[in-house]
Symmetry: C2
């Protein structure tokens, strides 16, 4: 069968890419690597990060700064061995079906980059170098603070000593560091150079679609602090009847939630932060956003409309089980991939949400008022939920969720409106109209 | 009402952008400007190009090379006046609702760029500079050849004399030309610098979503010669009955077309050119591609599926007129914007085709086997059809269409399989099962 695509990851079948990070320590390389991996995995593109530091630590758990001096032969040998082990693991992973492998290390010399390029080229793997270059002292300081508190290299050490040592380590790297194509002799490489977190970006010899997607994603990242708020619409008339899809009005209690929402938002966002509100194009999300402060910009996205249930639109689960028993079962068996006849699968929804994610990455504070399946998919992006988990995540009605991206993960807070609503969560195999999710599946934990 | 978006042109309501082209003559600036305008217009973003040369020609129709020498005061004055007239017109156009205005001129000095930036900033219009820099002699020669044969500046002149004069004109520009941020003092500008048609790209201080869309589109352009072939699936069982949508098998005559297609393709493409085939995920396009040579790569896109007719899926036009008379009429009145209940509008289809267009721009030769509405939308992109025209373009069954992008427009050729098929074209107000388009609407002309 011909490979399928929905617009992302075209011809992934034939493409394997090694993303080689480049840059001095404390330039956000691991942050970029982790974001890229999460984005690709969310799009069903097998991606993995190979952090050379982790390999080095098995041999040298907490080395002093001069371990990273190129004149330190013992240090050089161990660091070289760590890089070789990481690359060997990555090649094994590619053989097992990996598509985008990310080599997270400084790769700060031309020799090291040529070494990686040669190995990958011999294995028919494309190489794209991604350099994070930063001369903004504030940004570097922020990263150093982060490293000294989170890196296993400094665990248990005095923070001030750690910071000093880390600065010395950076100095040792600076001695040999060459920025990509600094001497003009790396112009044949495929690379992306990100200066000061996106202020300027240089893109060189990008060759295919998947490379261009990765580059476009990375050039849209920023690290200014912000949050994303998610809410489902208020309870709808069809929710009351346990029917899916449709374009119903809010129930009484749904209206109550819409009136209460400004208060919840104010409590969570604060009164002086500007907020942009995105809704779907369906009545129930627009009505839910109706009472929010007038100075918030509002925008309707068709991409935020609920998963299209096709021929099952407007039915109860019982009716689906009665009228389309095979479909009902097929969906339970592989809910992520099951596409309603004439409608959509969770996989389809993820693909149409891709521009939303891209725009979220570019934006500051955003409140999204949308639907159960759509919010599950957005939640899965931020929380790295697998395809098996994401279609079953409970997203209760009348609840505001706040997601705050941090250096290595996303923080969750929830705000309950304390307005009763039916549950629209459904367990595997169940045809119940309203069923409560088992408590261990609840969202109400900080991840 | 909150502004709506489908993922492109977010917050267009609040954004106005002046794209200022920068570069020596014969660097493809007008090509880039024209592509960007066509792309944006296709996405319903009001865009227009203001070519300073056209303004200058009213005053100085066929000036010699030394008109462009900065020491020529008369020339300087007239060129300045032309720029002022173009900018004044652009500002008037912005006041009437323009969103992206493109200033097509060399803008090759820092002073000129600062002048444009100041005027636009005073009018709350964002400025993005787009420079095409090229030192590939072959590419420049190609452009010079192009200019001397197509530019009104040299109409009726001996081609060799024209080429010589044009080279001297370029030399006069080179004397004062400064590449963007060449001296490091334009680093606060928002700009995109394209070197040698995309080999390297520098992106500086891109600020919002629309800017980033324009940049992403422009960085994906190439100028290698290629064609795009379009075909509808062979006649389907539902076509025979005059029913829309569905997922039917091919009719006997449709099968015949599928068997004939390889021959048509071979005739048009040639036997030694590699071709990639894209189909939708529906049976009738996959079956139509079945007999194509095995060495062609094939890819299925959900984005190429037929316009979703929602509640009207599988109906005849007569049934739609009987069961949903209001919808039937509303669709005829504004076919581009009418969205079937639970389904899609042409506008929706254009938005989901955007990644297809992006990938087409990146690609070499592609054959697309898809559906009537989808092919109308792709055709509209290449042929600059308006929203009023595109939903009515006749795209007959059993016909292969070849589109070849040229410097200023797209060439069309059609190949008929000479296998009978019903017509699925429908005139405004008609509920006929099968109706032939009026001859003047036919595709069979080279545009």
């Amino acid at each position: 069968m011909a490979p399928r695509t929905n617009g992302i990851g075209v011809q992934v079948e034939n493409t394997r890419i090694c993303v080689v990070m480049v840059g001095l320590p404390a330039r956000g390389k691991s942050f970029i690597a982790q974001k890229a991996q999460r984005y690709l995995a969310w799009l069903s593109i097998p991606a993995a990060t190979f952090n050379v530091g982790n390999y080095r630590r098995t041999d040298a758990p907490q080395p002093p700064a001069d371990f990273f001096d190129t004149n330190n032969q013992e240090g050089e040998r161990k660091r070289r061995a760590a890089a070789e082990a990481a690359v060997a693991d990555m090649l094994r992973w590619f053989k097992k079906g990996g598509v985008v492998g990310i080599l997270d290390a400084t790769n700060s010399t031309k020799e090291r980059r040529k070494w990686v390029l040669d190995i990958m080229t011999q294995n028919n793997i494309e190489v794209i170098f991604v350099e994070s270059k930063c001369d903004d002292e504030n940004m570097i300081m922020m990263n150093i603070r982060d490293v000294k508190t989170t890196s296993p290299d400094y665990q248990g050490q005095d923070p001030e000593t750690a910071a000093l040592d880390f600065r010395n380590r950076i100095r040792n790297y600076e001695k040999v560091y060459k920025s990509l194509n600094e001497d003009g002799d790396e112009e044949d490489l495929t690379f992306l150079k990100i200066m000061n977190v996106g202020k300027q970006v240089i893109i060189n010899r990008i060759r295919d679609y998947l490379q261009s997607r990765i580059v476009y994603y990375l050039m849209n990242l920023h690290i200014r602090p912000r949050s994303v708020w998610l809410s489902r619409h208020g309870e709808s008339m069809l929710n009351l009847e346990g029917r899916i899809g449709g374009d119903a009005e809010l129930s009484h209690r749904g209206e109550e939630y819409a009136r209460k929402l400004p208060e919840l938002v104010l409590e969570s966002v604060g009164s002086d932060r500007p907020l942009t509100v995105w809704t779907s194009t369906l009545k129930r999300t627009i009505a839910t956003a109706r009472h929010l402060p007038k100075h918030y910009n509002q925008l309707q996205w068709k991409a935020l409309d609920e998963l299209d249930a096709g021929v099952c639109d407007g039915m109860t689960y019982q009716e689906i089980a009665d009228l389309h028993p095979d479909d009902f079962q097929a969906r339970d068996e592989d809910k992520y991939n099951y596409r309603y006849r004439g409608g959509e699968s969770y996989r389809d929804v993820v693909i149409r949400l891709e521009p939303i994610i891209m725009e979220l990455e570019r934006s500051e504070d955003i409140l999204i008022i949308s639907h159960q399946a759509v919010i599950r998919c957005i939640y899965a992006y931020f929380m790295q939920k697998t395809q098996e988990e994401s279609p079953w995540v409970p997203v209760p009605l009348h609840t505001l969720i706040k997601l705050t991206p941090r250096a290595y993960g996303t923080e969750v807070q929830t705000y309950k409106a304390n307005i009763q609503a039916v549950s629209t969560w459904r367990g595997k195999g169940s045809t119940a109209k309203h069923e409560d999710p088992s408590p261990e599946k609840s969202l109400f934990q900080t991840h």
